[in-house]
Structure formats: structure tokens, C-alpha cells
């Protein structure tokens, strides 16, 4: 069940990411939904699942992007592992710690991504800090919304079902 949920989450994130590929700030992508999914999985299921999700999601993203396969998945693997370890060590059930983790994970991911590209392409390290910060905030916001949606979703359904049940019994009497 967990594996299926992770795969579904990554698939949805990849689908949405390809749809939002045109949204960019200064040539940099405004949001990285696959990274959001990886961080979410790492916070929800731990470091091992997080790094596996990062590896799989990154590989799929690289394969779809058409570049060097592995350049994007290696940072995501590291971020998934890191976030999983931090999530196990600290209490991150509140929105603020989660926001900080999402922002930090995005920054670390971008840092690793640019470093790997600099190594692979034999060029100097270059990082667009403003675009990276923007992406970090957007990722964090989307991640918080996803967490809230998942946590509130079952409660909403349950309240709606109970409300419907109460309404129907009232009409019966």
C-alpha cells in the first residue's frame, strides 16, 4: 500500500511537472513537484523510502527531460535521505518546521544539482539564488498544502459522512 502510494505520488508529481514545465523565472523552474513529492515521502515514511523515492523520481525525471540520466536523481536521492533522517530526529509535524525543511531541501537540492552539473560539464559553479529561493518558497507552500490536504482529507470525509447520516436519520424520524 505504501509503495503504491509512493509510486502514485511520484507519477502525479511527474505529470504535473511536465505540464508546468513552461513556468519559469529567469530560466529556472518555478516549482519542482517531484522534489516536493520526494520530501513528502521522506517525511512521511523515513530515510530509506525517501532516498528510494528520490532515486526513482529523479531517474524518471531525467529520462523524461532527455539530458544526462542521474544528474537530477543523485541530488534528489541525497535530499530524500537527508530529509528522512531529519524527520526522524526532530518533530516536524507542525507547518513551520515542515516549511523550513522544504525550503532547506530545495536549497540543498539546487546546490547539489548545480555542483554535479559543474563537475559533469567542466564549467564553473553557477547558481541563481533569487530563482532558487523563489522555487524553495513555492515548493514549501505546495508541500504544506499537500500535507494539510492529506491530513484534513479523511477528517472532512468523515465529518461529511456523519453529517449526511445525521440528516437522513432526522428525516426518517
Amino acid at each position: 500500500m505504501r509503495t503504491a502510494g509512493v509510486i502514485v505520488a511520484l507519477g502525479i508529481a511527474l505529470l504535473l511537472q511536465t505540464m508546468l514545465a513552461g513556468m519559469s523565472i529567469g530560466g529556472a523552474t518555478i516549482v519542482n513537484l517531484v522534489l516536493v513529492a520526494v520530501v513528502y515521502v521522506a517525511l512521511a515514511y523515513g530515510a530509506a523510502t525517501g532516498l528510494l523515492a528520490g532515486a526513482v523520481g529523479g531517474l524518471l525525471q531525467d529520462a523524461l527531460a532527455g539530458g544526462i540520466v542521474g544528474v537530477g536523481s543523485l541530488p534528489k536521492t541525497l535530499v530524500g535521505f537527508m530529509v528522512g533522517v531529519l524527520g526522524a530526529q526532530f518533530i516536524v509535524s507542525q507547518p513551520v518546521p515542515r516549511f523550513v525543511l522544504f525550503v532547506g531541501a530545495t536549497l540543498v537540492h539546487e546546490l547539489c544539482f548545480q555542483a554535479v552539473y559543474a563537475l559533469v560539464e567542466f564549467r564553473a559553479f553557477h547558481m541563481q539564488y533569487s530563482a532558487t529561493l523563489t522555487q524553495a518558497v513555492v515548493n514549501a507552500a505546495i508541500g504544506l498544502i499537500a500535507f494539510q490536504a492529506v491530513e484534513w482529507g479523511p477528517g472532512l470525509v468523515q465529518r461529511r459522512d456523519s453529517r449526511r447520516a445525521a440528516f437522513s436519520s432526522r428525516r426518517r424520524f
Binding site: 530509506a48 532516498l51 528510494l52 544526462i68 540520466v69 536523481s73 536521492t77 559533469v120
Partner: protein
């Protein structure tokens, strides 16, 4: 079915549950990514990074293995394989010693051949009758510079006969003369003397032996005569022993003397320390005559130089000079 069940049991065991070994998983994933990226990226030389790294690492392994093999081969060749080399070494040492002895013999033979060739050339150019002789012994008395030759009265050798060599005058035969051996007084002996003259200026004098270096002095040359270092000294023939015109040596120093005569030292052409073959001039010694000495500037037989060239002959003994040649008495020495 049984295989699938066993696989499920193994994979589900805590030992192989990868989720419980996150560090190992991270390491494997990181290495896998590095390999994956390296397989796609080319290095600056155009070769894929994975190939380059693999080749580099493998070449180091190959180098290490080759080094180990080389070391083992050296160990085998230098130690184990040399067990029988000690005996071979001894045999080779003996062979080297024998060959060195043979080499020395061959060198001596070659030197003797060269010497005999020079002597043969001299014998063919000398107009006087000669007989070749080998030096068979030296003189055990350091004060007497004589040698013994293997020719004697049976070969026509008599006392006061001149002994010459390819380089110049050597000495004279002294009595007693045996039938198959004779003593030769070297010119460098302190009691030996020979009539001589400077080849360039025809200045006459007498060459005597000495114990100094150079071992010859030229005496009775007037201070008014010009004698320079480097001048060649040849026999004058006035002594009646040595044939005229044979080379003696080269003037090494010439200084004006305190009395009537110059002080001249002469370096002999002959190496008296290495005499092996000589020629004995089979001409009986005769008293010197004015005709034999000749006058300065008089044309005569050209003197023989060490190089075989012939120079103008002539020269005269100074007036009142003692008769050179033969053995002087101690009172004759100046």
C-alpha cells in the same frame, strides 16, 4: 514454487531488509548514480568518464599485478635460479685470469713485433754492418748503467763497438766480451761520453751521462755558440766509436756558463728503461781524426734524426776538447 518461497523468506529476513540498512542503501545509490553519470559523460579527451576511470583503475591494478609478478620473477631469477652460479662464477674467474695472462702475452708479443720492425727498418737504412741483439739482462749495481746482450765475440762483437737503436744512440760494448754475450755501457751512465754536436748550429761538444734529470749533459760547448732549448743533438763521430749523425737527444736547457763553456742539459731520445732489442755496429773503434769531425758548414753525410729525417752534417770538436767516447776516468769528469 519452492524457490520463490525460499527467496521470500530470505528477502524478508531482517538481515536483508534494505530499509533497515539505510546507510548502505545510500552508499549503493550514490555509487550507482556516479557510475550512471560517468557512463554518459565524456571527459576532456573525448573518452567516457566511466571508461577512463575504469581503465585508469584497472591499469593500476594491472600495474600492481605486473609489479608483483616482476618482483617474483626477480626473486626467482636472482636467488632461486642462481643456486648453481657460484660454481660457474669460479670457473669464469679462472677463465678470466687465464685470458688476462694470454692478453698480456699477446700485448708483449705485439710490442716486441713493433720494436723488431723498427729495428729492422733501422738495420736496412744504416750503411754500416750491424747485428741485432736482444737485451737479456740489466745491471744489478744501480751505480752502473749497463745491460747485457745476447751477442758476443762469436758474432763479431768486440769492445768499443757502438750500440744503437731505432731512436738513437744507446751505448757501447765494454770489455769483457763473451762468446755469446756482451756488456753494453749505456750513454746515460755517469762514466759514458760521446762526441756530439748541435744539429742546427753545428756547435760541437761532448755528451756525458749523469745521475740527474735529464740524464745527459753536453759539455765543451763554447759560450759564444748559440744553443737553444729544443735543438737536436747528434753524434759527431769524433770519438771513433759512434757513427756520425745518429740522434742522441734534444736540448732541454742551455745557459751561459761561468767559465768558457755553456751548461747544457739533454733529454735522450732513447728510453733506457725499456731496452729490448738493439743493433751492434760491427765497426772497430778507431781514433778520431780531424777529417772525421769536419768543419762547420762542411757538407757531409746527413745525420739521422729520430724521425728518420736527414739534416745537414758537419760540426767540429772544440779545440782542446778531451777525446770523447769510451769510459772516462773519474779525473776526466768536470
Amino acid at each position: 514454487m519452492r524457490w520463490a518461497c525460499s527467496w521470500w523468506l530470505v528477502a524478508g529476513s531482517p538481515l536483508l531488509d534494505i530499509r533497515r540498512r539505510t546507510g548502505v542503501l545510500l552508499l549503493v545509490a550514490t555509487i550507482g548514480h556516479v557510475l550512471l553519470i560517468s557512463a554518459q559523460v565524456q571527459s576532456k579527451s573525448g573518452v567516457r568518464v566511466l571508461q577512463e576511470v575504469t581503465f585508469s583503475v584497472f591499469s593500476r591494478v594491472q600495474g600492481s599485478a605486473a609489479g608483483v609478478l616482476h618482483g617474483g620473477r626477480n626473486l626467482w631469477g636472482n636467488y632461486v635460479g642462481l643456486r648453481g652460479m657460484r660454481g660457474d662464477n669460479e670457473v669464469l674467474r679462472k677463465q678470466v685470469a687465464e685470458l688476462e695472462v694470454r692478453l698480456q702475452e699477446q700485448r708483449a708479443l705485439a710490442a716486441r713485433t713493433v720494436s723488431l720492425q723498427a729495428l729492422l727498418n733501422l738495420q736496412s737504412t744504416v750503411s754500416v754492418p750491424t747485428v741485432a741483439a736482444d737485451v737479456i739482462a740489466g745491471n744489478p749495481n744501480p751505480g752502473m748503467r749497463t745491460v747485457t746482450i745476447n751477442r758476443g765475440s762469436a758474432d763479431g762483437v768486440q769492445a768499443d763497438m757502438a750500440v744503437i737503436g731505432p731512436s738513437g744512440i744507446i751505448g757501447r760494448v765494454v770489455a769483457p766480451v763473451a762468446s755469446r754475450a756482451a756488456h753494453v755501457q749505456l750513454l746515460v751512465d755517469r762514466n759514458a761520453a760521446a762526441g756530439a754536436l748541435i744539429e742546427r748550429t753545428r756547435a760541437g761538444g761532448m755528451v756525458v751521462g749523469s745521475d740527474k734529470d735529464p740524464p745527459l749533459r753536453m759539455e765543451l760547448v763554447s759560450n759564444v755558440m748559440e744553443v737553444n732549448p729544443g735543438d737536436t743533438v747528434v753524434t759527431s763521430g769524433v770519438d771513433g766509436i759512434y757513427p756520425k749523425g745518429f740522434a742522441i737527444g734534444r736540448v732541454e736547457s742551455s745557459e751561459r756558463g761561468p767559465e768558457l763553456y755553456r751548461a747544457i742539459t739533454v733529454r735522450p731520445f732513447v728510453d733506457f728503461s725499456g731496452l729490448e732489442e738493439v743493433l751492434v755496429v760491427l765497426v772497430q773503434a778507431r781514433p778520431a781524426t780531424p777529417d772525421q769531425t769536419g768543419a762547420p758548414g762542411e757538407a757531409g753525410p746527413a745525420p739521422r734524426t729520430p724521425a728518420g729525417a736527414r739534416a745537414p752534417a758537419g760540426g767540429a770538436a772544440p779545440a782542446g776538447a778531451p777525446r770523447p767516447g769510451g769510459t772516462r776516468s773519474p779525473g776526466e769528469r768536470r
